[in-house]
Amino acid sequence: MTTATTPTPREMTVIYNREDKIFRGIVTGGALTSLVVLGLIGLFLFLRGAQVFNDKGISFITGVNWTAGTGDGAILDDFSIGAMLVGTIVVSLIALVFAFPLAIGGALYLEFYAPTRVKKPLVTLLDLAASIPSLIFGLWGIEIFTRFGERWAILLSKWLGWIPIFNVQFENFGRSPFIAGCVLASLIVPITTSVAREVYSRTPRDLVDTCYALGGTKWGAIRSVVVPYGKSGVIGGAMLGLGRALGETVAVYLLLNLVFRYNFRILESEGGNVASLIATKFGEATEYEIKALVAAGFVLFLLTLVVNMTATTIVQRSTPRA
């Protein structure tokens, strides 16, 4: 009589043939290269800025001053980016608040309501808009939008001025984070809309059909299937837009006066962000100031990484249970 023994699982080997090996090498190399480049950029920024981090410690990102010393010791170097970090986040959030609903509405319109002859040119236009240089948006913001934005700002301060963020000290409404945020919103609407539309267009057709077959309206189908199904992808698209807004340089450079002070009053004519700080100061910076600017770049680099990682986490967590 034989006793049944549980066999140990056998080792399974995979044999790659030559063309598989070559292809594997190429794609692995490509993937690693981009990772290595990213890592090297981070490392470079950190090493070049290390002295400033060492000198200033945490006050580099909490302090507000950006003062170049005179060299003779009368005025000491004092570089910190707290005000600019706050400016970066405030302006980007304003942009997101305006861009997100516009993008969702636009994407739903294009995907579910626009007639084909309207949809096709609009989609093309949208993709083109996503590739317009931000400088153009900045110029449009200064030359045209500011006039309208100022009126909105006046109304906001008049009716909602009791809310601290809409409060103003001076009756001067141009060049404010609010206006810069609106312009950044128009800058990130195309990419966010484009991603959202793409996501919505992948809603399984039969799920939408089922809503109709149950006597649902188009709005019902959108609310109960399309939006929940696309939630994670759309958040991802919004984060892409946010990432672009965080790093936006030229438009903010044109639209905001750099003022080194914490400013949460979004209608006030002062602000700035990290990227435009770097662009403004780099040309005539002293050796030590350049190190401080590189350190600022490193902080911005980390901020963008964190935003993107958060986006990825949200996307993974909210993927529908299948």
Binding site: T210, L214, G215, G220, P320
Partner: protein, 275 residues
């Protein structure tokens, strides 16, 4: 196969009852197009209340197009057009004053692939139609139990109504989809190859469900499976295409279609000589 009761009376309805006294669903000279493509030509058919009709025919003959014409799902395809009439209890569902959403509430549909809403629980899936159509119905618990029972799924899921619809097997998912369709109390249920993605056991289970459903509602089912058509349907309609638009070859009691059809092409098809 039994020829008693509804089958006999229903057959006389097919042969010729007056349109204005006819209760059920019927089409008069229905055509369908996708853009310039003429997909379906001149189909006149009657589906008496509380019967099961199988739509059979080779691929591309317009069965699915036809069934989507019956609850105005056809018009969701860009470029889709139709001609003729589809009458439900004597009134034209394509009349300009008719709200298509209301039509679909009365004439429900189950699709080929089981597709419970992925983000909803079993219970939420059953009630989804009521929510979508803003129906005011008390006693959701009774609806959930009633519909799942009619769909033959209650015993298997009663202890896990809060589980995701996606956690069920394929056959269970399809029965959940049937329960979901029943919750809005349709008078007609259209089924587009509801078993083609399922194993034989689940298929039989759904066929039993279909027969039970026909005690209360009208069922119209597209199927490629001849045995299935002969098992579940009271009537069969055979569609064909000669390369042009699909058309109706003949419609009759299922037993007649399978034993002694009027058209030799029907005989060839049901015996498996082509298709």
């Amino acid at each position: 196969m039994s020829t008693s009761g509804p089958a006999t009376t229903a057959m006389s309805a097919v042969v010729g009852a007056e349109a204005n006294t006819f209760t059920g669903l019927e089409t008069c000279g229905a055509h369908a197009w996708f853009g310039k493509h003429h997909a379906l030509s001149d189909v006149s058919l009657k589906f008496p209340s509380r019967t099961v009709t199988g739509l059979i025919g080779p691929s591309g003959c317009g069965k699915s197009t036809f069934i989507r014409l019956l609850n105005r799902m056809h018009e969701f395809i860009p470029g889709a057009a139709m001609a003729g009439e589809v009458l439900h209890n004597g009134s034209d569902i394509y009349a300009p004053s008719v709200d298509a959403a209301v039509v679909r509430l009365k004439i429900g549909m189950v699709f080929q692939k089981p597709n419970p809403f992925p983000a909803m629980t079993i219970r939420e899936n059953v009630l989804s139609g009521i929510k979508l159509a803003h129906l005011k119905k008390p006693n959701h618990d009774d609806i959930v139990e009633g519909c799942l029972t009619r769909a033959g799924l209650w015993k298997e899921v009663k202890d896990r109504l809060g589980a995701s619809g996606g956690s069920l097997s394929g056959g269970q998912q399809q029965r959940l989809c049937i329960a979901r369709s029943l919750a809005v109390e349709p008078e007609v249920l259209l089924m587009d190859e509801p078993c083609s993605a399922l194993d034989p056991g689940s298929t039989l289970r759904i066929e039993e469900t279909i027969k039970e459903l026909a005690e209360k509602i009208t069922v119209i089912i597209v199927t490629h499976n001849m045995q299935q058509a002969s098992r579940v349907s009271d009537f069969c309609a055979f569609f064909l295409t000669d390369g042009g638009p699909g058309y109706l070859v003949e419609a009759d009691a299922t037993r007649k279609i399978f034993t002694n059809p009027s058209d030799s092409r029907t005989a060839d098809y049901v015996q498996g000589k082509f298709g």
